[in-house]
Symmetry: C2
Subunit: 174 residues, 2 copies
Amino acid sequence: MKPPSEKTAGRRSSRPSFEPLQPHEVELADFFVRMAGILGVPRSVAEIYSLLYAASAPLDFDQIQGRLGMSKGSVSQGLKFLRDHEMVLSVKAKGDRRERWQPTPSLAASLVTLLRSQVLPALELAQPSLQRVLEGAQKKGASPEVIERLGRLNRWNARALELFPLLLPPPPGS
Amino acid sequence: MKPPSEKTAGRRSSRPSFEPLQPHEVELADFFVRMAGILGVPRSVAEIYSLLYAASAPLDFDQIQGRLGMSKGSVSQGLKFLRDHEMVLSVKAKGDRRERWQPTPSLAASLVTLLRSQVLPALELAQPSLQRVLEGAQKKGASPEVIERLGRLNRWNARALELFPLLLPPPPGS
DNA sequence: GCCATAGTTCAAAAATTATTGAAATGTCTG
DNA sequence: CAGACATTTCAATAATTTTTGAACTATGGC
């Protein structure tokens, strides 16, 4: 598999080197990085996803690391993030030790998973808290306007919490 | 400039001190800070909005600074952000020099403005870029699968760009 | 079991983003 | 229009987030 003499062409510190990114791959990465930014997803994660998205075949760990020129740690954490959000999946050819990664078929579904994981916990956490805030304000004798605002906020949150799962249903495997 | 003796009960460096936050105000701030975090809005901005949201009457600059214990710079920038996104508006009592701030009536509308400002520019920027990426991939003879993926991404972006203004129409004053 | 390979962990370093505050810039008011 | 007051600006600092890499763990093949 590997040339016995020179390992994987590995330079000094374990960072395999591969063909640098093509211009169109760079431009796609820019796109994904910007979009990811809006959702607070780190650059390295977006770059990995982008690379897989534009790849004609699944890529393994070393190929990802090599072509993006990033550290093992980042690749590992990035793939973990993408796995956790069901944005990539691995195929393993039989008799092959390493995993090879490709994007999940539906980007739409991936985004849903991502949004769910960010928004749902926040909504759930908020519910009892907002309740208490409203009570606190009432007890303190806040103005009717404030009471009205806080009540509206409560109802909104409740409705969002109830609607969200309908709009973005959880994937079967969770 | 600085109080030789003592002005608004100001401590050392020009920071007026006011009544500290009530428990329910703190809890509401936590909520807004968390939600803002999802959209990448800084804590200080969320705190200001939260304070105004729970306030029975509009607050002026010094009250905001004092009750939140933050710097003048942060209050100024925070209010600018909120103003720019039409999340607060100022009322000025006649014969009064300072502005007094309150949240815009509709939180929903505020969120729309915020989302627009984040997402629309990204979508617009992406359009020509994605076009080029697709062409680049075609020229490079990428696999049919990749071409299909990139084509889908293009159509998505175009559709989003076209739908977004319908879903979240720009406010009259812009 | 043992070695080699594949991937993970996590503390430290680097990069990014937010906040501060002192100086600058208005702008009302007398 | 002068001077006080309200707000903005922005370079410096602080806080936070991301990335790195070396040590560690896990797994498969012999």
